[in-house]
Amino acid sequence: MKTFIKFCSILGFILCIFSHSIAADKVDYLKTDWSFKGLFGKFDRGSLQRGYQVYTEVCAACHSMKYLSYRNLSEKGGPEFSVEQAKAIAASFEVVDGPNADGEMFTRPAKLSDKFVMPYENEKAAQAANGGAYPPDMSVLVKARGGGVDYIYSLLQGYETAPAGMILDEGVHYNKYMYGNKIKMSAPLSDGIIEYRDGTTASVEQMSKDVTTFLMWAAEPHLEARHRMGFKAIIYLIILTTLVYFSMKKIWSRVESEV
């Protein structure tokens, strides 16, 4: 029994090392305390709402978020805007609908059930407007990058002047954390570029943290429910395992063998 547990833990350890060595390149990302990590991790509502503001006022100019709907903004476990607020947010966007009874397409204000409006008609248009580089869709961006939230958080603050001797093409910028250090996106954030509605000072660091939190939620909208259920499930399993363990001891005490 003991050797079994020992072996399993070693195996688990090896497994973790494996997955880590595969997942993360050896880069030291900037660290911050994410409220959504850990057994009871939850999103910081204020941060999510501010993050949405950063996304919609800065990122959304180029980056789509096509798997999210406006209704998500008022759903539990997210930024939790009130339904009225979410409706107002939706109504500030125009969507193409139709065809109507006359066979014509028409525009109307977006509703809660509409997906986030995309900044470009299609991928080609996005590329054409951005010097050939496609600004990736942000719906699952956090999960699509090896370093996850730490990577995005660092990248947003990783703009520096290129080291001497490095030649950058027109429209290419140097970023400490980007793969290959060359990025087509110019530094998107600068101190005070937006004015937070809740009065928080809009420093680059603050905005990076808020928008990354928002992106994490966008990629994992059910993270809070998952953590809550996970804790209950594991406690339940531990109690059941203990009960079964003692039942097993009792049953096996009838034969003179150890378990």
């Binding site: 973790c16 997942a23 999960k143 063998s257």
Partner: protein
């Protein structure tokens, strides 16, 4: 065996059982005499059954919401994750369930290797197991393609391209597999069909695997033949049922931890990028459970020979009962084999590690040495060891080592020290 004398108590039961002996089967399964010294490594058979059922149930549910179309697959997975009730839970159980399935099957296989469970008279059980393992790999690979992410697409491209190594007909076979001239929608739909089919084939083979097991009965840590039923055995129910249940619950705790707290750690980040035939990822890596074979494939410079080496690495296991010439089953009584066994375990882990690394420089060298050793173990060390090794005397019954104090190991150690 006892089931021949089984007679249902009620008249109705007898009437039914004479026509379809399901009650006899149930009686056989509950009474099935099992060696009483089975340790926890033997619980993984039950755990694997659980894994298979879990994959089938979650898979069926996912299939109700998934759309097997190159333009819609990725989006439908996001739909499952966001809008289907508890879709995120079902998908994370299914995705991590694959990893858990392989974790359990590797423990199950290495348990068999340690205790010589593949030896006569259990060769058929072992070979059925190898076929199940091959089908599992096929199912897992095709399942990984379905979300239609970057790793799905490029993984599928790399693996299907292996068939082009076959002389003369290779290219034709690849086109036939793809249903076109590249991995595309026809590839996706046929992979979905096969991914749906294979688990049921596995289920059928599992029935045969268990049937074949119930003919000679379980091997045991001492590795000797035992009389059934006797003082050395306990009925399957309740003794083994509760023990398997306990081990399964422990396993489920680990499983739950992955599902709820790090559901994506075993996957690759690139698979959250929708498939793009125009952009090749920097490193194309398979899932962790295929890495040792991937390392073997890449360690051979020639494409065809690489494929042959990779396939041989798996198929060599099928002839293992005849490569291992030792009459003694359990490694407990084989001091030399025991050491080589652990070297093999380390060798496979090393292969897995270098499989995840770029195939260049030192990694490539290590992969080559480890590949060579892998084949050396099965083709040279095992056959020779059977003749050369001086084994420790085996006990006559299970009860003997049990009464001697601790089960199996303490007794073996004691005997070992006497020899030295």
């Amino acid at each position: 065996m006892s089931e021949h004398e089984y007679k249902p108590k009620s008249k109705v039961g007898q009437w039914f059982n004479d026509r379809l002996p399901l009650l006899t089967l149930a009686n056989h399964l509950t009474d099935y005499p099992t060696p009483k010294n089975l340790n926890y490594w033997w619980t993984f058979g039950g755990i694997l059954t659980f894994c298979l059922i879990t994959q089938i149930v979650t898979g069926l549910t996912l299939a109700m919401h998934y759309i097997a179309h190159a333009d819609m697959a990725f989006e439908s997975v996001e739909h499952i994750m966001r809008d289907v009730n508890y879709g995120w839970l079902i998908r994370y159980i299914h995705a991590n369930g694959a990893s858990m399935f392989f974790l359990a099957v590797y423990i199950h296989i290495f348990r068999s290797l340690f205790y010589g469970s593949y030896k006569s008279p259990r060769e058929i059980i072992w070979i059925l197991g190898i076929i199940i393992y091959l089908l599992m790999m096929a199912a897992a690979f095709m399942g990984y393609v379905l979300p239609w992410g970057q790793m799905s697409f490029w993984g599928a491209t790399v693996i299907t391209n292996l068939f082009s190594a076959i002389p003369l007909v290779g290219e034709g076979i690849v086109t036939w597999l793809w249903g076109g001239y590249s991995v595309d929608n026809p590839t996706l739909t046929r992979f979905f069909t096969l991914h749906y089919l294979i688990p049921f084939l596995i289920l059928g083979l599992v029935v045969l695997h268990i049937w074949a097991l119930h003919v000679p009965g379980n091997n045991n840590p001492v590795g000797i033949d035992i009389k059934k039923p006797s003082k050395d055995t306990v009925p399957f129910h309740p003794y083994i049922v509760i023990k398997d249940g306990f081990a399964l619950l422990m396993f489920m705790i680990v499983f739950a931890f992955f599902v709820f707290y790090s559901p994506n750690i075993l996957g690759h980040a690139d698979n959250y990028i929708e498939a793009n035939p125009m952009v090749t990822p920097a490193h194309i890596v398979p899932e962790w459970y295929l890495l040792p074979f991937y390392a073997i494939l890449r360690s051979v410079p020639d494409k065809l020979l690489g494929v042959v080496a990779m396939l041989s690495a798996i198929l060599i296991l099928a002839v293992l009962p005849w490569l291992d010439t030792s009459k003694i089953r359990s490694a407990v009584f084989r001091p030399l084999y025991r050491q080589f066994y652990w070297i093999l375990v380390a060798d496979v882990l090393i292969l897995g590690y270098v499989g995840a690394m770029p195939a260049e420089g030192l990694y490539l060298l290590i992969a080559r040495v480890a590949t060579a050793y892998y084949f050396l173990h099965f083709l040279v060390i095992l056959p020779v060891l059977g003749f050369k090794e001086k084994t420790i005397p085996i006990p006559l019954s299970i009860t003997e080592p049990v009464l001697g104090g601790n089960p199996n190991l303490a007794m073996a150690k004691q005997k070992e020290s006497k020899i030295e």
